[in-house]
């Protein structure tokens, strides 16, 4: 935040940024009116982040549900275009994210840049998947009878994601992008300790043609926000990437109330988000719908149509 210039003795007073939530395409402060201190890896103050309340969580679900129809109904091509647009926007704001990731994770600029580059590439990877996943995991089934049926993947609905606690940006993108690529909408709970890259991502998403409500970013105490969301009856799935084992078990039990699809935390919390992402995170939030149609008679019975 404070960059020295060698030419002048007088330091220009920088303009601080007020970090806000990103909900329903808007940037509200927490409904609670409360914030908490975000520090860098050495404990230096970086900014105040909104401390989301249960009501913020509830509002985010409403926004995500409202956005679901349009987003899931958009063409896969269109979703791909928008995800790619996110990558384009990030590329232009790379310096900002490198700085935020470096501060958040205690990385050198160059190491942080590697993270940000990988995160941008991840958007590109998922942008390309939007109109292919149905071909890979769906298809026609050779029914024994005068019927044709087709299995197609459809988005599960509103998904709550607990972003990884350590990998504040690449980890975040790695769990958010696959969820929305297929048409789900998401409420992501940012890394509790390092929420700033997530909150900034909201600003990028808002300028990437992504409809409001498709991604909603909340910051605050992960357990406090996640608990009501895991029990929320209008949430269809939950990704526990950022939960420890104790919290994960509690949330999985709460999620059973309406049989949310649950993705348990990886074996190691700090999963290797550099690895080839695969399609597991896409398929985890897809339902398979099989639609049957009569085909007419198979044999020549005279009136086969």
């Amino acid at each position: 935040m404070s960059e020295k210039t060698e030419k002048t003795e007088q330091r220009r007073l920088s303009v601080f940024k007020t970090y806000k939530l990103y909900v329903g395409g808007k940037f509200p402060r927490s409904e609670s009116g409360r914030v908490y201190e975000v520090t860098d890896s050495k404990g230096e103050w970086l900014a105040n982040a909104p401390l989301s309340s249960r009501k913020d969580a509830r509002d985010a679900v409403v926004a995500a549900r409202k956005a679901f129809g349009g987003w899931s109904g958009a063409t896969a091509y269109n979703r791909g275009q928008i995800l790619y647009r996110v990558a384009e926007m990030l590329e232009g704001r790379k310096d900002q994210f490198v700085r935020e990731v470096a501060d958040a994770e205690g990385l050198s600029k160059s190491k942080a840049a590697v993270q940000v580059d990988a995160a941008i590439d991840r958007w590109v990877w998922y942008a390309g998947w939007t109109d292919k996943i149905a071909q890979v995991v769906g298809g026609g089934n050779p029914v024994a009878g005068p019927f044709f049926n087709l299995s197609t993947p459809e988005p599960t609905g509103v998904v709550v994601v607990l972003a990884p606690q350590k990998s504040s940006f690449l980890g975040l993108v790695s769990v958010v992008a696959p969820v929305i690529a297929t048409g789900n909408t998401v409420i992501v709970i940012a890394s509790e300790k390092s929420p700033l890259p997530a909150l900034s991502l909201g600003e990028v998403l808002a300028t990437s043609d992504l409809p409001g409500g498709v991604v909603n970013v909340l910051s605050g105490k992960t357990a406090e926000i996640a608990t009501p969301l895991a029990a929320h009856q209008d949430v269809n799935a939950i990704d526990l990437a950022g939960a420890d084992d104790v919290l994960a078990k509690e949330l999985e039990i709460a999620a059973a109330d309406n049989l949310k699809r649950v993705v348990r935390p990886q074996a190691v919390d700090n999963a290797d988000y550099f690895a080839n992402p695969g399609i597991e995170r896409l398929t985890a939030f897809l339902e398979t719908k099989t639609v049957w149609h009569p085909t007419g008679a198979l044999g020549a019975s005279g009136s086969s149509y």
């Binding site: 005068p146 009569p294 007419g296 008679a297 020549a300 019975s301 005279g302 009136s303 149509y305």
Partner: protein, 318 residues
């Protein structure tokens, strides 16, 4: 029984013009092929045993229009057919007579004599059977000849060409004209379902025939590749059921061609029973157009009576 005039009244003026008729026929509910055939197949799995089978066999015999429609038909052949219709099983006088014999118009007089006094009706195909490709005047003359020779029933063919070309009014007018020429004879209208090709067409033809005053609607001539099937007969049974529900007028159904075994015949009776209902379980309302079917029915009848299987040497070949 209400008359055809009532039918027209109940349905409004659907036959007022070409366009009203077309709109009506095209507004009938569609038919899903797979669903229709599945229903027919499912009813075909009914297991008809013992007393029910005995009832069904006698009913089926009584519903047979014993048919010969060959270029080689002679008075001798027709007389033999008549004798068979009157006394299907000479060894068992409790065997019912068939409903009718069915012949070409020039054989009506012979047939009439052969069945005289038995209650067996004489049906005659007419209207340039089986193709129906003749001028209306010729067709009507054909009908008048048959009626004049004593035919109790006329089996006409519709103009499939006109139907497929969408000239529904032409088909309708022709049936009206034939009906008039038939006088007191009951009129069976043959659609040649195998040529109509789609179930939607069969439903439309059924309604068209009934609106024009058909006493029976009949699947086919027996002269094309596909004749009566359980599915097309089921569809026509639905049509007569719905027509009566809307107009109060009851119309009969006659599947013809391809029904050769007792097992087949019983499947058709199950279709009647569970679709149109028991009001149609009578030879006034349901017929089988068949020839070889009768002997199979007779053999099965003997088997039920004696407990042992019969053979072709124990029924008469006519």
């Amino acid at each position: 029984m209400p008359t055809t005039a009532n039918a027209a009244h109940a349905l409004g003026d659907v036959t007022a013009s070409d366009s009203t008729l077309r709109r009506f026929l095209h507004g009938l509910p569609g038919v899903d092929t797979v669903g229709l055939e599945a229903r027919a197949a499912s009813l075909g799995t009914r297991s008809i045993k013992t007393t029910a089978k005995a009832y069904a066999i006698d009913l089926a015999i009584s519903m047979v229009d014993l048919t010969t429609l060959e270029g080689a038909d002679t008075p001798g052949k027709v007389r033999a057919l008549g004798a068979k219709a009157v006394r299907p099983d000479p060894t068992d006088r409790t065997t019912p007579t068939t409903a009718a014999v069915c012949v070409y118009p020039d054989m009506v007089a012979v047939a009439k004599e052969a069945v005289a006094g038995s209650g067996v009706k004489v049906a005659s195909v007419a209207t340039a059977f089986p193709a129906g490709r003749a001028a209306l005047g010729v067709k009507l003359a054909d009908v008048r000849d048959a009626v004049a020779a004593g035919a109790d029933e006329i089996d006409m063919v519709i103009d499939r060409g006109a139907f497929l070309a969408g000239n529904y009014m032409k088909v309708y007018d022709e049936i009206i004209a034939v009906k008039e020429a038939s006088g007191a004879a009951r009129l069976k209208v043959i659609f040649e379902t195998g040529e109509l090709s789609t179930y939607d067409n069969i439903r439309r033809a059924s309604w068209l025939g009934m609106l024009a005053g058909a006493d029976f609607i009949k699947t086919s001539t027996g002269k094309v590749a596909v004749n009566a099937t359980p599915a097309n007969t089921l569809l026509m049974l639905e049509a007569v059921r719905d027509f009566r529900a809307q107009t109060g007028v009851q119309v009969g159904v006659k599947p013809a061609g391809g029904i050769r075994t007792t097992k087949d015949a019983i499947k058709f009776l199950v279709l009647v029973n569970e679709t149109a209902g028991e009001d149609w379980l009578d030879n006034h309302w349901f017929r089988f157009g068949a020839s070889s079917l009768l002997n199979d029915l007779l053999m099965q009848r003997q088997k039920l009576a004696t407990g042992r299987y019969s053979g072709p040497d124990y029924v008469t070949v006519d």
